[in-house]
Symmetry: C2
Subunit: 353 residues, 2 copies
DNA sequence: CGACGGCTCTGAAACCCTTCAACGACGACG
DNA sequence: CGTCGTCGTTGAAGGGTTTCAGAGCCGTCG
């Protein structure tokens, strides 16, 4: 900057003004300075700026695992909202490692970002408080600590289950099943199950919800559940299945098909979450999507709000609504739906010119 | 830091030493300073440090679109390599916007990161040079500019096509088809086709490669191609299909199934890329995967190497091998393979406690 | 007993920018 | 023609850290 000032025949203060308060400097001077900046290829040092300002305007996002489609959606939504509001979002992937997550959080704290979005896998504990003590606002994303001294964005998992059951009931199915019902120690499972039960209860006496256990929340769990359902006599067999996870739903579908049953002709199946792997199969999967983008957006709003009102900010929890997306696995017709208006179908690679 | 120094009764220089060169300070002093640091909750300001050092040790990654699974894999691989080498990787998503991409690159340049990985959609042009003029090394990822004054990491697309055709030929299929062959203006398509042709040529006279055009690289293009193949008389119909894209392959499969053909019984199908949407269907898709993680890893290695040898660094292009992953759509048996050793199957949401 | 070498620790400069009080010039006004 | 206000510009302070030359101090050796 000194070089620019010297070469333009002005003081560094003036160069700074050209950069940050162009209106304060006479057009002639400004143009001269700008010309020199261009000529010298000068780029201001963001660190020095932040050092003076005390805090940068960048936002950080620490995500538990970018391999999980939901977190990617959260990152995309957050990125868009941040951009719309004139800031930059930097994402750090903790790769399922709590220590790394803490490291990333501390790094962003050290670098004095305007605020951090944290989407953890487990309770982050005191790590968050350390950052906040330095004045780095933190918003918790997609994880419920139950704390009320922290802004939080959550998906309404009760509504996830409710929407799923409501959809199937609305199609006229009465005998429903809920696969994965035994994993109620996982809060989202608990909530989804509760929502599904409520919808069934509201539908009156003719509707029922069979709760099917799985050994595992991972795909393998759907295997046994799928076989169990397939082997039931047709009169007792559930007519429609809600799996607590898209991944479980996918394996249930595979087992049903392998047993010679038709999906959705004999059994309709649907999942929850936002797992793109269910979208492209022969029977694209109906699902209640966790609206990750909306979660990310809302989180950025909350974070900027908190960052703006240093003190006197009231922490709150925003609950985002999930969204039902109907595909072939529950629809009446089996036409492949991949061309349909699936939300945010990523563009295809190859993307080279 | 001044506060810490005062409270510990030492000078700021000593506090700095405790932080960066603990061996230079007497244990007693060190412990006292550390105690005060803890007591005061002091966290060093990374900006000030970078300001002095001239450059931080953080790496930046600017990615064209996080909605694309391949870029996510690149980010994950890069993250892991960076972590293994003791640095931090910050990812910025350009959301398919070239201007935003340039903005992100400039931002990282301003913030004086150790280097930037850039995975663009189109030729980034002079943006890159601006950053490099300030001494910010840039490595181009998954995009071939043809420049030799830049380190680049590419996937061997010729080998993608070659591996695909070789796999099918190895299974005994002779009449192959290549779907999407008309999009040769896209460099990856051109290379993949060339590789496939070569494998077929090497197989001798009895093997053939029917080149099928699609109106579009997007999924819809697979529709017409699939119908076209399905409607051919069985004797002329290709026995195995390579689609230039996983997404195309998925829709081809859907059309074949809809026409009453069996996959892979009547027609085997495979794709290329790394699109997870093809993994979970009733007929999980065989594919030649672009090994995004390896690309990301290699890119970080290159970048750190360039960052280390300020001058006298020889730019080079590293070509990463793709990887054949066999699933049901080409295998002899149709057993669902989702439990098999699919590379990097993400863990399931729900991930709350 | 004095000189000398090692350890520790200090203080100040340097890093690059922003901001703010103050200053000079210039036009308007009385 | 002197005074006042504005506008544009300046110069220095300040922000948090690292680094480096040097100052004390203690022990050792001659």
């Amino acid at each position: 900057m000194t070089d620019v000032a010297a070469r333009a025949g002005v003081s560094v203060g003036t160069v700074s003004h050209v950069l940050n308060h162009p209106e304060r400097v006479r057009p002639a001077t400004r143009e001269k300075v700008e010309a020199v900046i261009e000529e010298l290829g000068f780029t201001p040092n963001a660190n020095a700026r932040t050092l003076v300002a005390g805090r940068s305007s960048t936002l950080g996002l620490v995500v538990a695992d970018l391999g999980n489609t939901l977190f990617v959606e959260i990152a995309r939504g957050a990125q868009r909202e941040a951009y719309a509001r004139g800031t930059t979002l930097l994402t750090a992937d903790s790769d399922n490692d709590d220590d790394l997550q803490a490291t990333h959080l501390e790094f962003l704290d050290r670098t004095r970002v305007a605020g951090v979005l944290l989407s953890p896998m487990a309770d982050p504990g005191a790590t968050v408080d350390r950052a906040r003590r330095h004045g780095t606002p933190v918003v918790l994303v997609n994880y419920d600590t139950g704390r009320d001294d922290l802004c939080t964005v959550l998906v309404d998992n009760d509504r996830v289950g409710y929407l799923a059951a409501q959809h199937l009931l609305g199609l006229g199915f009465r005998r429903l099943a809920f696969v994965g019902a035994n994993h109620v120690r996982l809060q989202p499972v608990r909530d989804r199950l509760a929502g599904a039960r409520r919808a069934v209860a509201e539908a009156g006496g003719r509707a029922s919800l069979l709760e099917v256990a799985t050994g595992d929340v991972r795909p393998a769990g759907g295997r046994t559940a799928g076989r169990e359902i397939a082997s039931m006599p047709a009169r007792r067999r559930p007519r429609a299945v809600i799996a607590v996870t898209d991944l479980l739903a996918m394996t249930v579908v595979q087992e049903l098909l392998a047993a010679g049953l038709d999906v959705p002709g004999d059994v309709a199946v649907m999942g929850c979450d936002y797992d793109t792997r269910g979208w492209g199969g022969a029977v694209p999967l109906t699902s209640v999507h966790l609206t990750g983008q909306e979660v990310g957006r809302e989180a950025v709003r909350l974070l900027l709000e908190e960052a703006a009102h240093e003190a006197g900010h009231v922490h709150r929890t925003v609950v985002v609504a999930p969204q039902l997306v109907v595909r072939a696995s529950s629809a009446g017709d089996r036409a492949p739906a991949a061309d349909g208006p699936v939300p945010d179908l990523p563009p295809p690679t190859p993307h080279l010119p």
